[in-house]
Amino acid sequence: MESERVPLKARNVSFSWEDTPLHWVPGDPFTTHTINVLHLLLPAGERWFVHVYKQALPLIEDERLRADVIGFIGQEAVHSQSHDEVLPHLREQGLDPTPYTAQVDWFFEKLLGDRTLPPGRARRWWLLERVALIAAIEHYTAFLGDWVLGAAELDRRGADPTMLDLLRWHGAEEVEHRSVAFDLFQHLDGSYRRRARTWATAFTALVFLWQRGVRFFMENDPTLTAPKYSVKDFHDRGRQGVLPSTGAMLRSIPRYLGRGYHPSHEFSTAQAVAYLEASPAALAAERAEPSAREAA
């Protein structure tokens, strides 16, 4: 049980990708690409969070929650920008992600975008539906964030330090703000049926998009001639500790669907805050901050 509150603020991080190899988990393209799918989904996805939350902001009546949502928006905006910056690097190495990201863009901008709805009940319904979807997705981003913070096996395999720093800085901020999306959903609606329904949608969509992304990367990787991979590969990597284990993922499902669920009961804020205090990117952002203030 952890319930300490951390004031949320965006950190102005930057990464340089010149020295990151295409297979940044050495000798393991499947793991590399499974994690790389994040760079395809997150830029559009997190920008969509920001887009939806900007619309939800006027509906919030609790000042503390509003401050949290404002911090959340900034963190998500910087996450989205940071993952977007990996894509040109992939392109330079012969793996152009544009065909897939175009589909993801359609998914978030059109399918989940602002529909032409009459103001009033219909518009509010669609907004609440999306706020609930975000709460369900944030359960998984916090799950993944907590996992990557503790994934020591990746270090042992010699994974690229810059990429690990991006993933862990992002993961730590996801753990840090894991309660915001759920609190906002509870504040605006909180209906259990909606929570269950949107969880099913979000989980299905995530599994669908993720496996599609892995297939896209594996099929189009210029260095792989006859890529072979299956669900068993995922399961095996999970047991080795370079990807989240299947068991842990299955166990996370009943947690979110439990009536008494609250994100603050899951995961460890201390681990996340400790990482943020040591992350090279977060430290550089911290150092640069006073100057940004001076220039402003």
């Binding site: 603020k9 965006a10 102005n12 930057s14 340089s16 010149e18 830029p43 559009a44 920008r47 969509w48 920001v50 887009h51 939350y53 900007k54 902001l57 006027p58 404002i70 911090g71 959340f72 928006i73 900034g74 963190q75 905006a77 910087v78 989205s80 920008q81 977007d84 910056e85 894509l87 040109p88 990201t101 993801v104 863009d105 978030f108 901008e109 975008g113 602002d114 550089a284 150092r287 640069a288 901050e289 006073p290 100057s291 940004a292 203030r293 001076e294 220039a295 402003a296």
Partner: protein
């Protein structure tokens, strides 16, 4: 034939309605449709380059020239500048003064400002050859336009954006340059300018001849002349006063991020809300606007997350963020850090 008549009347009415509506549609404020919200995804941040500092040499009293090398650097046009990220995290703008066609290196020059905010001191004292520096850009806010003739006025280190312009002008172009500074020893590029300009160059050093005679310079400036001025604020104000009608004045301030006179107060009109708010010195547009519109979305308040981007309908903006592209800067701003350059801004809020 009542049937035929009915058809004719209906067709005529339909034609008239169509014409009437077309005119209404064209004059309606709802047409063309207002710009849609920006797309949810697809805007990468301005890409940073990491360049190697290969030369750091003193070329005049208090002026160093830096050469930054990299591969396949973006091309630039005369007047462009770079954002240089110093090791301490400070970001400063410097005009490019090398060869625009060179894609393997950038050259900039920086003057030491004794009582500045620390950026130039760091450039002079902390940077050494062999360091890797992050730069953003290049961007051009001082582009060279077509004109019948040109007059350039440079004060001190303000010569840096002008130098590539002179090299880029066609041989038959008619131009003059007034270059002023405190002492000849403190003015960089004098020898090079002498070769390039010949008798089109007037050098005025304050310790020898005092203030430059701007009236003489402007005596024969006519309409159709483009005047480019880069230098201290006083010099630029003096040039602006003497501008004849029909001539175009282009100014480049030394520190786009920080005017010497600090933040000025201005007004922001919220066009959709129909209200005007005053933005006092030392207060951000965001803070002032939030008093009227408390639900406005924002987050980092430092100009990097992009949440508070708003459309600008009128007024000149002094952009102080590090996120927006030039195309975005043309019609929008981050209201948490950027301010008005004139006395008034109109926002689509």
């Amino acid at each position: 034939m009542p049937m035929l008549r009915t058809v004719a009347v209906v067709a005529g009415a339909a034609l008239l309605t169509r014409r009437a509506l077309r005119r209404r549609v064209r004059t309606s404020p709802l047409w063309p449709l207002p710009a849609l919200d920006p797309p949810v995804s697809g805007r990468p941040r301005a890409r940073a380059l990491r360049l190697l500092l290969t030369a750091h040499e003193t070329i005049a009293d208090g002026v160093v020239r830096l050469r930054l090398e990299g591969d396949g650097l973006p091309r630039w046009t005369p007047g462009a500048h770079l954002d240089l990220v110093l090791p301490s995290g400070l970001v400063r703008q410097y005009s490019l003064c090398g060869d625009p066609g060179d894609t393997s290196s950038y050259t900039i020059a920086a003057r030491l400002v004794e009582d500045g905010r620390g950026g130039s001191r760091e450039v002079h004292e902390q940077l050494t050859e062999g360091m890797e520096l992050e730069v953003r850009g290049p961007r051009n806010r001082f582009p060279l336009a077509e004109a019948q003739s040109y007059v350039f006025v440079a004060g001190g280190i303000g010569i840096t954006p002008v130098l590539p312009m002179l090299r880029a002008l066609p041989a038959h172009a008619e131009w003059r340059l007034l270059y002023c500074g405190r002492t000849r020893a403190s003015m960089p590029f004098l020898a090079e300018l002498g070769e390039l300009a010949g008798d089109r160059l007037t050098v005025v050093a304050e310790d020898e001849e005092g203030r430059p005679d701007l009236d003489a310079l402007f005596a024969d400036v006519t309409a159709g002349t483009a005047v480019y001025c880069c230098g201290p604020g006083g010099l630029m104000d003096a040039v602006a006063e003497r501008m004849p009608e029909g001539a175009a004045l282009h100014l480049e301030r030394f520190a786009p991020g920080a005017p010497a006179d600090g933040d000025a107060a201005f007004e922001v009109e919220l066009r959709r809300t129909g209200r005007t708010v005053a933005v006092p010195a030392g207060t951000s547009v965001l803070a002032a606007v939030r008093r009227e519109l408390p639900d406005l979305a924002y987050s980092c308040e430092q100009g990097f997350c992009g949440t508070c981007q708003q459309r600008v309908l009128a007024g000149e903006v002094e952009h102080r963020d590090e996120l927006l592209t030039d195309a975005e800067r043309a019609d929008s701003m981050l209201i948490c850090v950027s301010r008005a350059r004139g006395g008034r801004l109109v926002l689509d809020l």
